[in-house]
């Protein structure tokens, strides 16, 4: 059974149609790349799955639930911006995650924060943009969630950290979870992807297994992306 079902999803902002009749069925046990250029509708789709935007038409369900308190218990979301309170340090943020998310693994979070050399006592306000992103990712990936929605997780970090993040995502991968990574930095992540969704001007233009694309098209996902989204 699919853990995420999206049916006829449309989202308009005035005249602009950010998502146009999108339908998807996503199974557990996969790492899925949600790939498209800027403004293609990736973030809008992820925000609707999190209940941060309301659809104009259509519906979404996560494990049979509409976005709400129930779905938020099983979804770990990494937004494309810093959303954590800036007066808190890593320790206080871990306390908060532990209080609100039953699936939060504090030991894992502490290990990741140590590995990335983040000062536990430094407040978010004093951290660099990259460090904030790393800390946010540590907290999200330390959850044993069933759905991970990662919006541009590698956009603002250095290549060494990128590798660490991708290793972390792979190590979290299990048969009960689905990981959706939204990005346009395809060459960095294509090696970890099981499934690929191309989104263009709010429409799904391709949804295939990563291996099938490589075998049938005889090119990398990055190569196919450049071909499909050629300006």
């Amino acid at each position: 059974m699919a853990i995420i079902e999206i049916s006829g999803l449309t989202k308009s902002f005035g005249e602009l149609r950010a998502l146009d009749d999108v339908s998807l069925s996503l199974e557990k046990g996969q790492i899925i790349g949600l790939l498209g250029p800027n403004g293609s509708g990736k973030t809008t789709l992820i925000k609707i799955l999190n209940g941060l935007l309301q659809p104009t038409a259509g519906s979404v369900s996560i494990n049979g639930m509409a976005p709400g308190v129930g779905s938020k218990k099983i979804v770990a979301y990494l937004p494309d911006r810093n959303a954590l309170p800036d007066y808190m340090d890593a320790k206080k943020l871990m306390d908060m995650y532990q209080d609100f998310f039953e699936d939060f693994d504090r030991e894992r979070a502490e290990a990741m924060i140590r590995d990335l050399g983040i000062d536990m006592k430094q407040t978010m306000k004093k951290m660099s943009k990259g460090t904030k992103e790393k800390l946010q990712l540590c907290l999200v990936m330390a959850r044993q969630a069933q759905v991970y929605l990662l919006d541009e997780p590698i956009g603002g970090v250095d290549p060494a950290t990128r590798d660490y993040i991708l290793r972390t995502i792979i190590s979290n991968y299990n048969e009960d979870a689905v990981v959706i990574i939204s990005t346009h930095l395809i060459s960095d992540i294509e090696s970890v992807l099981d499934d690929v969704i191309f989104i263009k001007e709010g429409k799904i233009v391709l949804h295939r297994a990563a291996d099938d694309i490589r075998e049938e098209k005889g090119e990398s996902i990055d190569g196919l992306f450049r071909e499909v989204f050629k300006c």
């Binding site: 209940g51 941060l52 938020k72 998310f101």
Partner: protein, 261 residues
């Protein structure tokens, strides 16, 4: 979940407001002492001190209100909403959390205002100790405590209503895709007009409500003084009803119409 939210919300407000309160108290003491120790203790210095104190107190109260509004707006409808709105917490708990925290901190602000008022009077030498103050100023009339209790309840209910009124305006304003601050101000004015109209209707009903609740024929006693107890329950019910309306507006918009920019 509400208790968990409050665990983080109350200190978050406190870390900004407590230093302001401390500065307020210190200013009050210095103003009082300065006035007392001045070589010529004139009415002019006393008036200036009171004016300065009033200006500082007004600034702090305005800042407190701005912080309370900003906290709601940023946490639930702004950047931090990308975290807070993905917590497994209902919209009602989120709004309740902000409301309780705001009510607590506004009440504390009022208490600090009273306390600093006393401090300035002590500093000026008008009050030597509580006993002398009590002997000089307090002549407790019959029914004072009952009336005070009713007034405190009504003041707290009014704070709750005013906070919910602002929250409703901010939430309605965020329905606009652009210029949300302007839209919130517009929504606030609309809410005030609505409340003014509703208030006039309710005021017209109060005598009959009083008669219904207390069996009293008149709102005014034989001495011509307003029978406060007579309007307490109608006023409380009206304030509670308005608070509930604003609460459900916020809850509905947050559950069904949330669209974070």
């Amino acid at each position: 979940m509400l208790a968990k939210l409050l665990k983080y919300e109350l200190p978050a407000m406190g870390r900004k407001l407590l230093p302001l309160y401390a500065a307020w108290a210190v200013t009050a003491v210095f103003l009082g002492i300065g006035t007392q120790s001045s070589a010529s203790k004139t009415d002019f210095i006393a008036v200036m001190s009171i004016l300065l104190y009033t200006a500082i107190a007004t600034a702090i109260v305005v800042m407190s209100v701005i912080m309370i509004v900003q906290r709601y707006s940023r946490s639930l409808l702004g950047e931090e909403a990308y975290f807070n709105q993905t917590l497994p917490v209902s919209a009602a708990a989120h709004i309740g959390n902000k409301l309780i925290s705001a009510t607590v901190w506004i009440s504390v602000t009022a208490l600090v205002a009273l306390l600093t008022g006393f401090l300035i009077l002590i500093g000026m030498g008008f009050i030597v100790g509580f006993d002398s103050f009590k002997a000089e100023y307090i002549d407790i009339p019959k029914g004072f405590w009952g009336l005070s209790f009713e007034m405190i309840i009504l003041i707290i209910a009014s704070i709750v209503k005013s906070v919910m009124q602002i929250y409703a305006a901010v939430t309605i304003g965020h329905q606009a895709q652009n210029h949300t601050t302007l839209a919130s101000i517009g929504a606030y004015i609309t809410v005030l007009v609505f409340e003014g109209s509703a208030g006039r209707i309710v005021m017209g009903m109060i005598p009959s409500m009083t008669k219904l609740i207390y069996g009293a024929e008149e709102l005014y006693g034989p001495d011509g003084i307003l029978n406060f107890t007579g309007i307490f329950i109608p006023a409380l019910l009206t304030t509670a009803a308005l608070s509930a309306i604003y609460f459900f507006i916020c809850k509905y918009l947050m559950e069904k119409r949330l669209n974070l920019a």
